[in-house]
Structure formats: C-alpha cells, structure tokens
C-alpha cells in the first residue's frame, strides 16, 4: 500500500514537471512572439523592444529561461497578465472557486442520476431504461455543449422568459438572504443543467456497463441466497462494486469536466475560469493562457492522484499490477 502511494506520488511529481516544461514551451517556441503581443501591433522602436526583451529575460538562452521559469513557478510566481498587470496565480485562483461552484454540484448530480439509472436498468433487465441510458450517453458525447447552452437560452430565457440568460447574480437587485440564494439558483439552473447533461454522457456509459457486469457476479447469488430483498442486493452489493469504475472514470476525466465547464461558462457569461480564458484568447494574453493551462493540468494530475488514492480506499484489493488505470 505504501509502495503504491509512493509510486503514484512520484509519477504525479514527474507529470507536474513535464507539464511545466510544456507550458514554458508553448509560450516560448510557438510562432507569435510574446513581445509582439506585449508591445502591441503598433511598430515599436527597436530599443523599446530590446528593453522589453531584457526585462522579461527573453534575451537569455532558452535553458536559462526555462530554469528561471521553473524557479519562479516553484515560488508561486506564474508571471503577470499583459492585460490587467495582475499576477496570473491570483487571477486564476480568484476564478477557480466560481468554476468549481458550477462543476462540483453538476458532477455530483450527473453521478447520482447516471448511477441510479444504471442500477435500475441493470435490475429491471429493462430494454427501455437501458436504451435510454445508451441514448443519453451517445447524445451527450455528440452534442456541442456550448450549443446545448445556446438552445437552453433560446428556449428558457428568450422565449419563455423563465430564467436569466447569463451571469451569476442579478445586477440590479441581487437581494439578500434567501432572496440572494434564490437569485443565485435561478442563474445556476441553466448552466448546471447544460453541464450535467455533458457529464452524464460519461457517467451513464461506464455506470451502465459496470452495473450490468456486477449484477452477474457470483457474490450477488450469495447475497440473494441470504434472503435479502432484490433492492438490498442492488443497492448494497451491486452498487458498491459497480461504483468503483464510475469513481475512477470521473476522477480520470477531470480535464474533460473542466473543458465542459469552460465552454458552458462562455455561453452563460458565468464569471469563472472560462471567461478569463476567453478574454485571454481574445487579447493573446500569453501569461494567463499558459498559467490557466499549467494550473488546469496540475489540477488534473491532482485529481488523478486523488482518484488513485480513493480507489485504494474504496477497493480493498488495490490492483497495483493493473497500473492504476481501469
């Protein structure tokens, strides 16, 4: 067990180092010079350009720049936004909470719905529910999540006028107390629904196959033979085993989840990482782009690590030989 954790930690550390190098390379090797972006399209005097280059250490050899980048990164310095002159780390962290506020409840909701549907589909041998699960998964995988958001806006905000189309709270009368919570929920509803459908695609596919597989395991016969009700067999024995691959898939797909969140935020002007990201794209704000990539990638590594550890906790067998990936 200790060896397993140690191996996963070492690998995670190696991944973070590799990701930092990639983040460095995309800003320093790609065409499109950061200095151009910094000094603007207006033809700058050569001495100004060289001053800027010196200021940002761009006149140093590449390995030296990389070393400086890594040292700064270790100190939590990811550079400053060209646009707002704010430190990248604090910009990203300030937005991360808002993004998680959208992501986490939706992930939980998608998991609950997907698993509940899968258990019932497995139990009823029902072709109806089973087909529904397959359909949800297929459509969820095929639909552009931002387009789903647009359709929701057209229907529920524009035509029916039931829910706000964008933002996280009303600008004029946010209210207070319960009123503020309700106001938040009204803004939350559409993007959350949108992204839940997106997550459900992943959860439904895995949950369905793993629940069906577990239902045919021998230990299910033992549970039935004790005289347990079919409901107890399903929710206590089948679910507990069938959840392991579901947890694994959610954890390993943190990057996928984040992508969905960023695109959904863009449609609904949800003030999270997505908005920061899109603004950075529009302004070619290099430090912010590479900072978002770096932190997102580290978050993915941490999510994978957490999944590995959780997996070890949930499944007492811990199959180290499988390399951790199910």
């Amino acid at each position: 067990m200790a060896r397993y954790i140690g191996a996963r930690l070492t690998w995670a550390a190696a991944m973070v180092l590799g990701i930092a190098i990639v983040a460095f390379l995309i800003t320093h090797l790609l065409p499109g010079n950061p200095v151009d972006a910094l000094v603007g399209d207006f033809p700058a005097p050569p001495e100004y350009v060289s001053k800027v280059r010196h200021l940002f250490g761009l006149d140093q050899p590449l390995p030296v720049q990389l070393w400086l980048y890594l040292v700064n990164m270790a100190r939590g310095n990811l550079g400053f936004s060209f646009l707002s002159r704010q430190p990248v780390l604090s910009l990203v962290l300030a937005r991360a909470g808002t993004t998680l506020l959208l992501m986490v409840p939706s992930l939980i909701l998608a998991s609950l719905i997907g698993v509940a549907m899968a258990v019932r589909a497995a139990a009823s041998h029902g072709r109806m529910l089973d087909s529904a699960l397959t359909a949800v998964s297929l459509i969820g995988y095929s639909i552009p999540v931002f387009w789903l958001g647009q359709i929701l806006v057209v229907i529920f905000a524009v035509n029916l006028g039931w829910l706000p189309a964008e933002g996280i709270r009303s600008l004029r009368e946010p209210g207070s107390g319960i009123g503020a919570v309700l106001d938040f929920l009204r803004h939350f509803a559409l993007p959350a629904f949108c992204i839940t459908v997106y997550y459900l695609a992943v959860v439904a596919r895995v949950a369905r196959s793993s629940m069906v597989e577990m239902l045919h395991q021998d230990f299910v016969l033992t549970a039935r033979a004790k005289g347990l009700s079919e409901r107890a067999v399903l929710w206590r024995h089948v679910l507990r085993n069938g959840l392991i691959p579901v947890i694994t898939v959610i954890g390993y797909n943190f990057g996928y989840s984040l992508t969905g969140a960023i695109l959904t935020e863009t449609v609904f002007a949800w003030p999270g990482l997505g908005e920061l990201f899109v603004t950075a794209i529009a302004n070619r704000d290099y430090p912010v782009l590479s900072g978002i990539f770096l932190l997102a990638a580290i978050a993915v590594v941490l999510a994978n690590l957490a999944t590995d550890l959780l997996y070890a906790a949930v499944d007492p067998r811990v199959r180290i030989a499988a390399g951790g990936r199910a």
Binding site: T222, A225, K226, G227, R240
Partner: protein, 331 residues
C-alpha cells in the same frame, strides 16, 4: 423415486425438468430429477460436471437467471410448501431460512469490497434482528472455528479454507433447516477439504440440520451422507442408502462411476473409466440417457425409458431395465 426416510421431508423434488432458453436455443439441464431430504438427514448428489446437479441446487432457491431458466415440468416442495411457481419476492421466504446454500468457489461468491463481518451480519439481521448482530456474528465465527478478528477482514485477505468457513457462517447465520452445499470443497486442497468436511459433520450434529451435499467425488459423499442420488444427464438414475448404492450399484452408470472412483479421478472431475461422451442436452432424452455409452444395452432400452425400479434393500432404486423383473426372469 421418493426417499426412504419417513417423517417430515424438508425437501421434495418430483420429476423436475429445468431448461435454459436464450436466443431460440434451449439446454435441458435437468430433465427428470426426483429426490427428497428428510429433516436432519444428510443426502448426497453425485455426478459428472454438466449433469445438472448445480442447476438443481440453485433452482431450489430460485437462484437461476430469471427469464432464461424455466421449470418446464415437475414440482419442488420445501417444508411442505410448493415453491414451483415462485417468482421474484416469493423466494425471500425460502432463501436463508429454511434453506441456505454454500457454493464452490468462496472467493468469487463473497463480496470483495465488504468486510466479512458485514456479510455475516447481513444474514443475521435478516433472520434474527439488528440487535443480535454483534453477539450472533461472534457466535457464528466460533461455530465455524475461526478467530473473531476475521470479522474485520476482507475476503481477499483470507485463505481458501477460511473463506469457505465464512461462507458457512453466512449460511448458518440464516438458521437453515436444510443446508445445500454445492461442491463446497472442490476448490480446496486435500487437507483443507478434510477439515471442512469434518466441520460440516460436527455442525450437523450440533445443529441437527439437514444437508444436501453435491459433489462429483464419491469419496466425499460416502462418509458424509446417509443416502445418495446418482445423477446423469439431468436424470436421477439411482438412489438409496449410500453404502448400499456404492457397494452394490445397480445402474451401469453407477457401476462405472464407482469403479472409476476406486481407480482414478481426473483433475477436471471427469472419470476415466467410462467411454463415450455425455449426451448433448439440446433436446430432452426420450430413452435412457446412458444408452449411447452403456455396454449392457439391450433391445428394450431402445423402446422405452425405464421407470424407477426396486434394486435392493432400504429403498435402493435404479432406472434401468437390467433390474426389471421381466428381464431377471428371462435370464
């Protein structure tokens, strides 16, 4: 072919016919099986792999896949209650109490992510009460001669023999009047097998429960069963007191089986002595299922299926024309 033992029968199976049907294909796993187990009695079922004995064991508890397995004919009564038409929740009044079951491979039959204590506790909660769980669980692990610390362990942390004891504890936790043991020692090594069998004998003595022991190993059955049924291709072909059947087998199949058991048993559970193949089970047999492999077959065997005929003392019966009075007179 009802049993010799009188008194209350905990289990009675009459002319049972069970099929598995899927995608237009059918397998007649059990075709004509009859047996009975009296309260407190130990009864064995012997047969090669694929003879339908495991299907028979599972169908008693409704543990065959719904929608695929069908009872086509015959009757099962448990404690005097006809369970033949049971479906869904009906089975909950049979499972565990009065009938519990122990399977062949305890590792795959135990839930891998649940502590042993919780798996035993579930049986106790279902058949006693939630309050009884701690005391009764401790009592059960004592009963199967395990340390109480196993309650906190997971199945993969235990040895094969320990796991089978856990399976037994789960079954006993239901307070069964009949324990069905489906090849309970096949997955174990010889020493552990002997220990588990000794434990089963002691438990039966202490608890006075009946047992239906299913095995391909006549040696196992010989020392653990009062009576024995020989099963072949879905048919119960011979039955009687264990010693009587095994020392004076009447059916040619039993003779081959008993001879083979004395000589050698192949690792896969097949017997070396009998030539030919087990008949295919895609359609039910209309004649004696052993006909194609029998070296004593005669004209009459190709005309009709023999009924159960008396073959000796203490209710010894066999389904074979060789022991029919007419045939004896003809000799």
């Amino acid at each position: 072919m009802t049993g010799a033992a009188g008194g209350g029968a905990i289990l009675e199976v009459h002319a049972l016919h069970v099929t598995y049907e899927s995608a237009g294909r059918a397998v007649h796993a059990v075709q004509d099986a009859s047996l009975s187990v009296a309260e407190g009695e130990a009864v064995g079922i012997a047969g090669e792999s694929g003879c339908g004995k495991s299907t028979l064991a599972r169908v008693l508890l409704g543990l065959v896949p719904a929608g695929i397995a069908h009872i086509r004919n015959g009757r099962i009564a448990i404690g005097g209650v006809d369970v033949t038409g049971f479906a869904g929740r009906d089975w909950e009044q049979v499972r565990g109490q009065p009938v519990a079951i122990v399977f062949q491979d305890p590792l795959s039959f135990l839930n891998p992510v649940m502590r042993v204590g919780d798996q035993i506790g579930e049986a106790v909660r279902r058949h006693d009460s939630a309050a009884a769980v701690p005391a009764r669980s401790a009592e059960l692990v004592d009963l199967v001669r395990l340390q109480r610390s196993v309650l906190r362990r997971y199945p993969h942390e235990l040895s094969g023999g320990m796991r089978q004891r856990v399976m037994l504890a789960i079954a006993l936790g239901c307070r069964p009047r009949l324990l069905v043991a489906d090849e309970p020692t096949t997955a174990l090594d010889a020493t552990t097998e002997a220990e588990i069998l000794a434990l089963l004998r002691e438990l039966r003595r202490e608890l006075g429960m009946a047992m239906l022991l299913i095995s391909h190993d006549l040696g196992v059955l010989r020392w653990n069963c009062d009576r024995i049924y020989i099963m072949y291709a879905g048919h119960t072909v011979e039955s009687g007191a264990t010693a009587e059947v095994l020392s004076r087998p009447a059916h040619p199949y039993t003779r081959g089986l008993a001879g083979a058991a004395r000589l050698a048993r192949l690792p896969d559970g097949h017997f070396a002595m009998i030539g030919g193949d087990v008949p295919r089970l895609e359609r039910p047999a209309r004649l004696c299922p052993f006909l194609s492999r029998c070296d004593a077959a005669m004209a009459r065997c190709r005309e009709a299926m023999p009924p159960a005929l008396p073959a000796g003392a203490n209710g010894h019966q066999a389904r074979c024309w060789l022991i029919a009075p007419a045939h004896r007179e003809a000799i």
